[in-house]
C-alpha cells in the first residue's frame, strides 16, 4: 500500500505541496489531478524519492521510499523520458538494468511486451526514428518492464491515437488486476472517470477534493438532465435553479443547482409529446474540477 502522510514540500519560501495525505491500495487506480503548477510533479518526484518532503512521510508497504524501494516503482513521465540515440532494445535494457533486473529477464519480458503493444518490428530501431505514439509505447514498456508494485502514469495517453488509447487502457487495467498500485494523471477527465476509483484534486499544492470518485460526484449538488425531444429552451432557462440549457442536435443538457429542480423541469417539458429521453446524471468530473479549481483542466 502507498501511504502519503501529511506531506508538505517547500522550495525556499514557496510551498509547493501543502499537507497532502492519501493512501492507495494494491489494485487501485488513483487519480492525482490539478492544473499546471498545482504540485503534481513535485508529488510524483517525492513518491519516486527524487525529492525529500519537507514534512511528512511517504511509504510503500510501510517502507520509506529510497533506492532500495525504487526498483519496485515504474514511472511514466509526461515528457518522453527516452534516450533518443538508443534503440528500443538498448533503451529497455538500460532502464531495466537500473531497476535491478538481469539482461536475460529484460529481454524475455521485452519480447512479450513488444508483441502485446504490436511493435515487435521496432526492437532494433532507434527511438528517434519512431513515431510519437510508438515512443509512448516504448516509454510505457520501460515503466512496467519490472512488474512494478507501484506505477506512476503521468499523461499516459499523450500522443496516442484512439486505437492505441484503448490498448493502453487494457494494459493499465491488467496491471491493476495483477495488484499494482497505479497513480494516474491526465488532462482527459473522461479517462480519469473511467479508471480511477479515488482521486485528489490539487490547487496550489493543497488538496481541494479527495476521496472516492462516486462519493465526490454524489455529494456534488449540481446535476445534469439529458433531454431528447422538442423543448422550449427559453422556458426552461427562466426556471429558478436551472443554470443553463445547452443544445446538442435534437438533445439538450440542462444543468441544475440540485436534485430538487428535477421535478420542476419535468413538469415544464411533460406537455411536449415527442420527449423520448429524460435522464438525471451526476455532474461530470470536469464540471466538478472547474467549479473547485476555477478553470478548465481539459486542453
Amino acid at each position: 500500500m502507498l501511504e502519503v502522510k501529511n506531506v508538505t514540500k517547500y522550495y525556499g519560501n514557496f510551498k509547493a505541496v501543502d499537507n497532502l495525505s492519501f493512501t492507495v491500495k494494491p489494485g487501485e487506480i488513483f487519480g492525482l489531478l490539478g492544473i499546471n503548477g498545482a504540485g503534481k510533479t513535485t508529488t510524483f518526484r517525492m513518491i519516486m524519492g527524487l525529492l525529500e518532503p519537507t514534512e511528512g512521510e511517504i511509504t510503500l508497504d510501510g517502507k520509506k521510499i529510497d533506492y532500495t524501494v525504487t526498483d519496485q516503482i515504474g514511472f511514466l513521465t509526461e515528457e518522453r523520458s527516452l534516450l533518443t540515440k538508443l534503440t528500443v532494445k538498448e533503451q529497455v535494457i538500460y532502464y531495466g538494468t537500473l531497476k535491478g533486473m538481469k539482461e536475460e529477464d529484460i529481454l524475455t519480458k521485452l519480447d512479450e511486451l513488444l508483441e502485446k503493444f504490436e511493435i515487435t518490428n521496432y526492437k532494433d530501431t532507434l527511438i528517434k526514428e519512431l513515431s510519437k505514439g510508438n515512443q509512448q509505447k516504448v516509454q510505457f514498456i520501460t515503466a512496467i518492464i519490472n512488474d512494478p508494485k507501484l506505477v506512476i502514469l503521468d499523461e499516459p495517453f499523450s500522443g496516442l491515437d484512439p486505437f492505441n488509447v484503448e490498448m493502453f487502457k487494457e494494459a493499465i487495467k491488467e496491471l491493476a488486476s495483477k495488484g499494482s498500485i497505479i497513480i494516474f494523471s491526465s488532462h482527459r477527465m473522461e479517462h480519469v472517470e473511467l479508471f480511477c476509483k479515488k482521486i485528489v484534486i490539487l490547487l496550489s499544492g493543497k488538496s481541494v477534493i479527495e476521496g472516492d470518485l462516486k462519493d465526490i460526484k454524489k455529494k456534488y449538488k449540481k446535476k445534469n438532465i439529458f433531454i431528447k425531444g422538442d423543448i422550449d429552451i427559453q422556458e426552461l432557462e427562466k426556471l429558478d435553479g436551472v443554470i443553463s440549457v445547452e443544445e446538442y442536435g435534437d438533445s439538450y443538457l440542462v444543468k441544475i443547482e440540485n436534485e430538487d429542480i428535477v421535478s420542476k423541469v419535468f413538469d415544464k417539458i411533460k406537455k411536449h409529446k415527442n420527449i423520448t429521453k429524460f435522464e438525471l446524471e451526476d455532474a461530470s468530473l470536469n464540471e466538478i474540477f472547474v467549479s473547485k479549481v476555477g478553470e478548465s483542466y481539459e486542453k
Binding site: 525556499g12 518526484r45 519516486m48 524519492g49 527524487l50 525529492l51 525529500e52 533506492y67 525504487t70 526498483d71 516503482i73 514511472f75 513521465t77 515528457e79 518522453r80 523520458s81 527516452l82 534516450l83 533518443t84 540515440k85 538500460y94 532502464y95 538494468t97 537500473l98 531497476k99 535491478g100 520501460t142
Partner: protein, 443 residues
Amino acid sequence: MKNKFKFLTKQSLKRKVDTKWFKIVNVILCLIIICALNIDSIIKLFGGDFNENITVYVIDNIDGNVYDVFTSQIEASTSVLTSGSSNVYEIKKYDKTLEDAKSEVEENKNIIVLEFNVSNENVMEVTMLSKEYMDLTDMAILNTAINNTKVAYSIVAYNIDPEALTKIYENVEINRIFLDEEKNDTSENTEVIMTTVFPILILPFFMLSLILVQMIGGEVNDEKTTRSMEIIISNVSPETHLASKVVAGNLFVIIQGVLIGTYVILGLIVRKFIGASSITEGVGGYIVDIMDSIGNSNFIASLGYVIPLVLILLVITFVAYALLAGILASMTTNMEDFQQLQSPIVIISLAGYYLAMLAGMFKGSLFIRILSYIPFLSAILSPSLLVLGEVGVIDVIISIVIALLFVYWMIKYGIRIYKVGILNYSSKDLWKKMFKAMKNKNV
C-alpha cells in the same frame, strides 16, 4: 548500487566509443597524424619546382681553379645545410661570357650563372644570374659555397697556413661553471630544447581536456533535456550518476590518448619505412637528440618519481574537469547554454597552455610559479616548470595536494548543485538557486 554504477559507466563509455562517429573520427585522426609526420614525403610525392635539378654555370675569370673549389664547396654546403634533401646541383664550367649565358637562362629557369671576378677590395666578386627569384634554400647553399670558395682561394692567394685558418674559424670553447652542484650544461641544453618541445608534448592534454568536458557536459545535458534524468535518478543516486560520468569520461580520455599515441607511433613507423628523405632523418634525429639530452642530464634519474607525480596530477585534473563539466551541465537546460558555460573552462585550459609556453621565456617568474599551484592550470604549468627546472618535486606535490583539496571541495559542494540542477528546468533565478543549493546540506 555498485552494479548500477558499473552499468552506467559502461553505458556511458559505450555511447561514446561504440559509435560509427568515434570510429570515423579516429580513422581521420590517424590519417591526419600519420600525414603530418610524413608531410615532407607527401609534398615531394606531388612534386613541384623544388624537385627540379639546378644547373649552375660557373664562369671562372680568376685563375681557372675557382671552378674546382666551388664544385667541392657546393657539395659540402648541400650536405650540411639540408642533409642532402634539397635539389641536386649540376655544376658546369662555362667558357663563354655572361652575356652569352643570358639567352640560355631565358629559355631555362633552372639555370643559374655565377661569374667569379677578381676584386681589389674584397678578394673576389660574384655576379649571379637567374631568370626568376631563387628559393631560400638554394640561395643559402650558393651563398655558403661562394663564401667558402673565397676563403679557400684566399688561403692560397695570401699564403695562409690552412691549419691556422681552421683554428681561426673554429667555435670558441665555453667552459660552463655552475655554483649549484646539481646543475650541468647538458641539463641546461635540455631546458632550452624542452622550452620549444614541451608545448607540443602537452598539446594532447589540452585537446583531451576539451574532449572530456564536451563528452560529460553533452551527456548530462542530453539526459536532462530528454527528461531521462528523472528515470535514471529515481533508480541511482545523483552521486552515483555523476561518479559514473566522471569515471567513464576519464576512461574515454585515456582510450583516446592511447589511440593518439598509437597513431604517432604508426606515423613514425611509416616514416621509417618510407624514410629516405633527409627531413625524416632530421625529425628523427631531433627526437634522438632530445632523448639523448634528457638521458645525459640529471633529469633522467628523477623520472622514476617525476612521471608518476605528473600522471597523478593529470588524473586529478581530469577528474576536476569532469566534475566541473557535469556540475555546469546540470545547471543548463539546453545544449546552447552548456556550450556558453563551457567557454570559461576552455579559456582556463588555453591559459594554462600559453603560460606553459611563456614559462620558458620568463624564467624565474614568480607570477607563473604561483599560477602553477592553481587547479586546472597546474596540470600543464607544474610539469612544464619542473622540466624547465623552475620548480622542484615538492612544488608538484603542493600542486597535487591543492588539486585534491579542490576536487574534494567540488564533490562536497558541487554535488549539491548537481542534485538540484539535474531536476531544474527553469533558467529563472538560476544562479540564486544554485548558490542556495550549495549552502544547503540537506539538499
